[in-house]
């Protein structure tokens, strides 16, 4: 014990063990029960400590992130399943072909259906 460095920044295992033996009291479990028995029952004491214990677990944070990501993904999938939205319900058109383009859910065949707005379809 006479050999020690005055600026030793590591814990001293010999001194630490001696102090631990000196200061450790019997039956920590009984002490914990004594503390829990003193906690106000209206607070549901054990559940408060359990919640705090859960906050300390990093796995809970990871689960929350996963749920959030899943929710965002599902919302995106549902959005893509919807068809194109008609910007207007009734477009005053010169020809039935323009109205058909607006209502169609498929791409027009431009070599057949290309028309200029306002020009009547020749008969």
């Amino acid at each position: 014990m006479s050999e020690f460095l005055p600026f030793d920044h590591q814990p001293d295992p010999v001194l630490g063990e001696a102090l631990r033996e000196l200061l450790t009291g019997p039956d920590d479990a009984a002490f914990a029960r004594r503390v829990l028995a003193q906690m106000p029952t209206s607070l549901a004491a054990e559940s408060w400590w359990d919640v705090l214990d859960q906050w300390a677990r990093p796995g809970l944070a990871a689960a929350v992130l996963l749920l959030l990501a899943t929710g965002i993904w599902l919302a995106g999938v549902r959005y893509q399943a919807e068809g194109p939205i008609a910007l207007v319900e009734d477009v005053p058109t010169e020809t039935w072909r323009a109205g058909a383009l607006l209502a169609s859910r498929t791409a027009p065949e431009f070599n057949v259906d290309l028309v200029l707005a306002g020009e009547p379809t020749p008969n």
């Binding site: 014990m1 006479s2 020690f4 005055p6 600026f7 030793d8 920044h9 814990p11 001293d12 010999v14 001194l15 630490g16 001696a18 102090l19 631990r20 033996e21 000196l22 200061l23 450790t24 009291g25 920590d28 479990a29 002490f31 914990a32 004594r34 503390v35 829990l36 003193q38 906690m39 607070l43 004491a45 054990e46 408060w48 400590w49 359990d50 705090l52 214990d53 906050w55 300390a56």
Partner: protein
């Protein structure tokens, strides 16, 4: 259960401050109950141990100020002089008593620092959070406390080895 997890640390710290088991356990209990009441002030992003032990240390210090000095567990007659007893168990008991007396002679902040560093393994920075001083002050407290306690243990061993 956090109470069970930190019961040992809290009891040892409180006992180091107060010098006896009974008052130490009462103070540790006060600390746990105060922590429960102040739970909304705990930042989950910070380690729980230093936060709790700061409350326990404050509770123990408050109790120490309010109480008259309670007599510590009675020391064997040979404790102060360090004369070895007739058998190994008696020697261990006397060493414990000498160490306990040396710990009691330290200022409370040095007791806290050396117990949290050498017994519980907290860093200087974490201990600074517990006692609300700078990290450099904690290093100084640990140094001075160790020197005093090691001198006691070294002196006791030297006396024991004398013919």
């Amino acid at each position: 259960m956090l109470v069970e997890k930190y019961a040992g640390q809290a009891r040892r710290l409180a006992r180091a401050i107060l010098g006896n088991t009974e008052d130490g356990d009462d103070a540790a209990q006060d600390g746990f109950l105060a922590a429960l009441k102040g739970l909304e002030r705990y930042d989950p992003n910070r380690p729980f141990g230093p936060w709790l032990l700061r409350i326990v240390a404050n509770a123990a210090s408050d109790r120490r100020r309010r109480l008259k000095v309670r007599a510590a567990d009675p020391l064997p007659d040979d404790a102060v002089t360090g004369r070895p007893g007739p058998d190994r168990m008696a020697e261990r008991s006397q060493l414990r008593a000498a160490l306990e007396a040396a710990l009691a002679r330290l200022p409370p902040r040095q007791r806290i620092a050396v117990v949290l560093f050498d017994v519980e393994g907290y860093s200087h920075r974490e201990i600074a959070e517990v006692v609300n001083v700078s990290e450099g002050t904690v290093r100084s407290d640990v140094f001075h406390a160790r020197r005093a306690l090691r001198e006691t243990m070294g002196a006791w061993h030297s006396v024991k080895e004398e013919p």
